[in-house]
């Protein structure tokens, strides 16, 4: 009986030791850096986009209304003196949909090592490694699929709305971005990747030990898609661009500077 008691005590001691060690290890892990939160905003002229009901004016003075906006960002990376820290979600991709509020914020699992970071980059859309048909089988991401006959994979972005033509008609537009297709005179088709990297400098960004969460707000300025370097007039491009690689190229070039980033000041220690 006494021997059994001794064994129980030893067992309790060892268990306590293991628990203590585990707790210490997990605490230390949190202190190694911080986690990030991304919030996605969508603005026109610095004011939050109001979809469906508010009419906006682009650089070409097209009056337009946005009804739906859905897009992917992927390969989000923080940079520190040329060193990279890739931030991943489960699939390495985040889907944003104006109609699904839960997609407007993103809580990646990865702990970012402490340090001062000087820029953040992300891919708008999907690179070849993930832009594969069948990669997403569940909605809503699945409904972004881009038909195989047009190159396959997924729409990088769907922006659906309506604009007023020079004749005064209200015409639907579908700013859909994905793999482009070019056919030569013999009818041979070549597919073009239109995804692009967005680089956002961080004037000062410190991820600090014990500072668990930092919030970044990534804003998309809708009008930037229609301004520079390519002046976008729906009366010239037409409303649909999935099979118009020139227009998709112009949209992809314009999209590079459609984003800005803001972040909260660190919590006081």
């Amino acid at each position: 009986m006494r021997r059994a008691c001794k064994h129980v005590s030893a067992l309790i001691f060892i268990t306590s030791l293991i628990v203590a060690l585990l707790l210490t290890a997990s605490c230390r892990k949190q202190d190694d850096g911080g986690k990030l939160i991304f919030v996605f905003g969508h603005k026109i002229g610095g004011v939050e986009l109001v979809k469906d009901s508010v009419t906006y004016l682009n650089a070409a003075e097209n009056e337009y209304v946005v009804n739906e906006l859905q897009y992917f960002i992927s390969e989000v990376t923080l940079w520190k003196n040329g060193d990279r820290q890739v931030i991943t979600s489960d699939s390495g991709v985040h889907y944003v949909d104006l109609d699904i509020p839960s997609t407007l914020s993103w809580f990646p699992d990865q702990v970012i090592p402490a340090g001062n970071y000087d820029s953040i980059t992300f891919t708008f859309g999907l690179t070849e490694s993930k832009n594969i048909s069948g990669y997403f089988v569940n909605p809503p991401e699945r409904d972004m699929f881009w038909p195989d006959v047009m190159g396959g994979g997924y729409h990088y972005m769907k922006m659906n709305g309506k604009w007023k033509t020079t004749l005064g008609d209200i015409q639907p537009f579908n700013l859909h971005l994905g793999i482009g297709m070019i056919a030569d005179t013999a009818g041979n088709e070549t597919f073009v990747q239109n995804y692009f990297t967005v680089t956002l400098p961080l004037s000062w960004c410190e991820v600090h030990e014990s500072q668990v969460y930092r919030q970044f707000t990534i804003d998309m300025d809708i009008n930037s898609w229609f301004e520079s370097p390519y002046y976008w007039d729906w009366n010239l491009t037409g409303g649909q661009i999935m099979q118009n690689q020139d227009a998709m190229h112009a949209a992809a070039m314009n999209g590079r500077d459609a984003f800005t980033i803001a972040y909260e000041a660190p919590d006081p220690k």
Partner: protein, 386 residues
Amino acid sequence: MIKRNYSSGWLYATSLLLALFTINSCSEKADEYQPTPYAFTIPAYFPTRLNIPADNPMTIEGIALGRYLFYDERLSGRTTPDSMMSCGTCHLQENSFECGINHPKFTGGRPFGITGIQTPHVMLPLINLVWNESGYFWSGLVCKNGPDAQKQNIEDIVYMGVTAPHEMAADTNQVKMLIQSIPGYPELFDKAFGSPKVTFRNISKAIAQFIRILVSSNSKFDKYMRGEVQLTASELNGFVLFMTEDGGDCFHCHGGDGNPLFTTNLFYNNAKDSVFTDVRDHFSVTGNPTDIGAYKAPTLRNIELTAPYMHDGRFNTLEEVIDFYSEKVVWSPYVHPLMHHVNDGGIHLLPSEKSDLIAFIRTLRDDEFLNNPAFSKPSSFPDGNK
């Protein structure tokens, strides 16, 4: 020493309590009846996320009971032949669990209930509903996580179907009593839910389980996607038209090679009308003016069998539907922006393109589904009745 004895005492007491809890929970588990879980097989390319409520897991026994109830016209709570009705009265397997335009009773595919009142809309087929997360009915009235706690899933639709004046117009107490009195049913309820007592909730659960196994995944197009068959030249042309923005641009709403359900299960105003009077559109659910005149995009699987088409059954043939999208769409402020040819009246297909498109759409017919004996009416009901 005393201290040590004290802590040993606590340890002993805690262990004893733990042991008692364990024994208690074990004995409860031994008494609790567990029906056999149903192993749901997800076909190639299909979504992996299933809309199965946590409180109604699928079981072999639940599905077996659900199949009987789905087809048993005593579900209407009545026994006189001219006033009996079941789900299977209208939802015919040979028409993709839809009424179909050739229904022997419902002329022109326009069903009406026991009291003679016509349903507000024509039917939607019961097919691949286990993957629908975006609302049932043409309007999306019944929706998981929707505002009405009583209208969330297929279980609730069973209740609505049994009680609605334009369907079975039944009294659920009468239904329960009648089913309870039929020899064989109490035993089946016991096997499915661990109690022989018939409750309406368990009736709904069993039928919903059966409806969730109605999976279509073996059409000619599925076989083509799996590399088992080749499409004809016409079907392939139709496929390309279906899948291209400059062609028919059907895929944005109806799926395709990236979405084998052949529906997004979402809601669109597809430019049928310029005046809207129907009080059961998607706007009636969301209150968002952009949803005026919007209805669910139905699956195109077995679509050749589910005429008449559109929420109000205005088109009797696939040819009429294609003609509509080709030349007859009309502008309204509520038209969905994916209807981008609206100002041209449509997509203006050539006659050969129309027939190619229809040829492709016919590849979505799944004869295995339409003839699957596991989905068919049982040869007899639990009491031996046929």
